[in-house]
């Protein structure tokens, strides 16, 4: 990762080819194709109901695409057998919208579960990793707390600690700033940037939070409900400056109003 740069020929972290998904009879996405390079801070943006979360659920394998393939580091995920799939699942972590911490388990148990499943570490070693992960998200010492005893922002950070437990090469975020105030939301953005800086982790973030998009994104794709797919791709500032698509303009400039983002 950060010790030696990946060779130029390395396959991209995520490669999506012609992905189509439908719920019952309604087509939500059709022919979605994009790649995410390793170490990139990649945003999936778009208005509500455009299929952002649906796309995410396809990427992480919770939904099966009607068509198309998803590849991680060149390896096929969509049609993978059980063993390959299990292997690929280790390469990414997911921070769910409501953190999705297991409520009957303490933070230590929450973060330790992936380690128990996928590593041969002893109990003491696991606890050390848990302590490190919690410290990284600013929750050092909160091992014995239950999720219900934490505030929303803390829960989200604990969810991130769990997503990072196996040092995944890719982390997915579903609306990371949902339910957080602007200050906490900015802190979480900071944390995301910091972790990318330390470990070179690829980050795929589903969001419609303009402040985060401008502050973090290396590249974005914008989805649209009527187009059932990607209508714009690029750096957010470039898109705002050069795109002549009114939908993109409207979204990135908050309906014509000047953005007040720092």
């Amino acid at each position: 990762m950060n010790a030696t740069p990946e060779p130029k020929t390395a396959p991209p972290a995520i490669e999506v080819q012609g992905l189509a998904c439908r719920y019952a009879d309604t087509m939500v996405l059709n022919g979605v194709t994009f790649t995410v390079r390793e170490g990139e801070l990649f945003f999936v943006i778009g208005g509500s109901g455009c299929g952002k979360t649906t796309l995410l659920r396809h990427l992480i394998g919770l939904l099966k695409p009607a068509q198309g393939t998803v590849r991680y580091f060149g390896e096929d995920f969509t049609g993978a057998g059980l063993a390959t799939r299990r292997n690929l699942l280790k390469t990414f972590g997911v921070l769910y919208q409501n953190a999705a911490l297991w409520s009957s388990m303490t933070l230590r148990e929450n973060v330790a579960l992936p380690l128990e499943q996928y590593t041969t570490l002893s109990r003491r070693e696991r606890d050390e990793i848990v302590a490190l992960k919690l410290a990284q998200v600013g929750l050092a010492g909160f091992e014995d707390y239950f999720p219900a005893e934490l505030s929303g922002g803390m829960r989200k950070r604990a969810g991130l600690a769990r997503a990072l437990a196996l040092d995944p090469r890719i982390v997915f975020f579903d609306e990371p700033s949902a339910g957080l105030d602007p200050v906490l939301s900015r802190r979480l953005d900071e944390l995301i940037r910091q972790i990318r800086g330390t470990f070179g982790t690829t980050m795929v973030i589903v969001s419609h939070e303009l402040a985060s998009i401008y502050a973090l994104a290396d590249r974005v794709i914008m989805l649209d409900r009527d187009a059932q797919g990607i209508i714009a791709e690029g750096r957010p500032r470039d898109l705002a400056a050069t795109s002549d698509d009114p939908r993109v303009q409207e979204f990135l400039t908050r309906g014509g109003e000047e953005t007040k983002t720092a």
């Binding site: 009957s104 996928y118 070693e125 050390e128 490190l132 410290a135 909160f142 219900a148 196996l166 470990f199």
Partner: protein
């Protein structure tokens, strides 16, 4: 050193009285990792027997790393501290050193969280909890009564639709399980009675035993237990889940008391349906006794029926009815109360359902004992 290029490795070599640990390969937490104890043992094998007084860590051969490397270095540092050796980490990259420091710091900071308590504290907490629960229960019964008065005053505002669907859920849908359990209980009672009565040639009194014990006890109790397991748990889980999803809060802020909206329809439905189910259960219990009598004791069903009619009078029927109404209320109140008290989590909802069943069965047994004394005193 060139064995497997991608495997994480740590090779220790002695240089004088210090130990040089060369880290290399790909350090991934999900892959096999070297253990510090083994590395030490290996180094001691070839070199001098005394402990090294310094350890120097090198990581220029590391291709990729993650938290596993950080943890390993932390372990080495920790070992050095206890062994009294100096640990030289100057050759490590800045990021790694920083993370190791972070880990060391995190190990020290521990925010105590009060989960384990001593015996006395637990007893005290249990006692205050019992008192609080009793008060909550009384409060809740009071609220239900007030809401009931409101219902009588303004029946138009009551959620009749909810009430009817609950009736179907807790009444009609419970018929099969109530049939099976009460029929089998009647059957068992007949067999038990037959053992003794046969010795005296008083076979026919099996009908009295089955009839009386079904009407005065078993019918209502069995129905109550089935209702508690089926409906009480369902009420608690439903309402508990609504609480987790802030649906109860939404009712409160709209000025709709949750007791009116959620509890009363369920309470009324169960209070009306339990007596019906109990009467039905009584009938099936007697049918069970009749079948055993006809097949084992060779008593014709007509004789059995006449004997049953002569023992059961209106007071036995009313005992059964009174009990079943009270049991229905107790199950509904316990289920709804536990649901409303549920913690806002999946585990909390589960606990609420369990606690609803336990509470309702306990309350029913207590009520049954009170009834036994009361009916005895009144001579019913």
């Amino acid at each position: 050193m060139s064995a497997v290029p991608t495997q994480a490795r740590a090779d220790a070599t002695r240089a004088g009285d210090s130990l040089v640990v060369r880290l290399g390969g790909v350090w991934r937490i999900t892959r096999p990792l070297p253990a510090w104890a083994k590395v030490l043992a290996q180094a001691a094998h070839g070199g001098p027997a005394d402990r090294p007084c310094a350890v120097r860590l090198l990581m220029d051969e590391v291709e990729q790393w993650d938290s596993s490397l950080v943890r390993f270095i932390y372990e080495v540092q920790d070992w050095c501290r206890t062994a009294g050796a100096a640990c030289d980490t100057t050759a490590l990259t800045e990021t790694v050193r920083h993370l190791v420091e972070q880990l060391a710091l995190a190990q020290e900071q521990h925010v105590p969280s009060d989960h384990s308590k001593d015996f006395l504290t637990n007893v005290g907490l249990a006692a205050t909890d019992l008192w609080r629960q009793t008060r909550d229960f009384a409060d809740f019964v009071g609220e239900c009564t007030l809401s009931g008065i409101g219902l009588v005053k303004r029946p138009g505002r009551f959620r009749w639709r909810d009430c009817f669907s609950e009736m179907q859920q807790c009444g009609a849908m419970a018929v099969p399980i109530v049939s099976l359990s009460s029929f089998l209980v009647g059957l068992t009672l007949a067999y038990t009675g037959a053992i003794i009565l046969r010795q005296f040639g008083g076979d026919i009194w099996v009908a009295d035993i089955v009839g009386l014990s079904t009407f005065r006890e078993m019918g209502a109790v069995m129905t109550g237990v089935v209702i508690a397991g089926r409906t009480g748990a369902a009420f608690a889980a439903q309402i508990g889940n609504m609480k987790t999803g802030e649906e109860i809060d939404a009712l409160e802020t709209l000025g709709i008391p949750p007791v009116d909206f959620l509890v009363m329809p369920r309470l009324l439905a169960l209070t009306l349906m339990t007596p019906l189910l109990t009467m039905y259960a009584n009938g099936l219990g007697i049918l069970g006794g009749m079948i055993v009598s006809a097949s084992v004791l060779e008593i014709p069903p007509s004789a059995y029926w006449i004997e049953t009619q002569s023992t059961i009078d209106l007071s036995d029927v009313s005992v059964s009815l009174i009990k079943s109404v009270v049991f229905g209320m107790l199950v509904a109140v316990a289920g709804c109360l536990r649901g409303l008290q549920a913690e806002r989590s999946a585990a909390g909802v589960g606990r609420a359902a369990t606690s609803a069943v336990v509470t309702s069965i306990l309350l029913m047994i207590v009520a049954d004992a009170i009834f036994a004394v009361l009916f005895n005193v009144l001579g019913i």
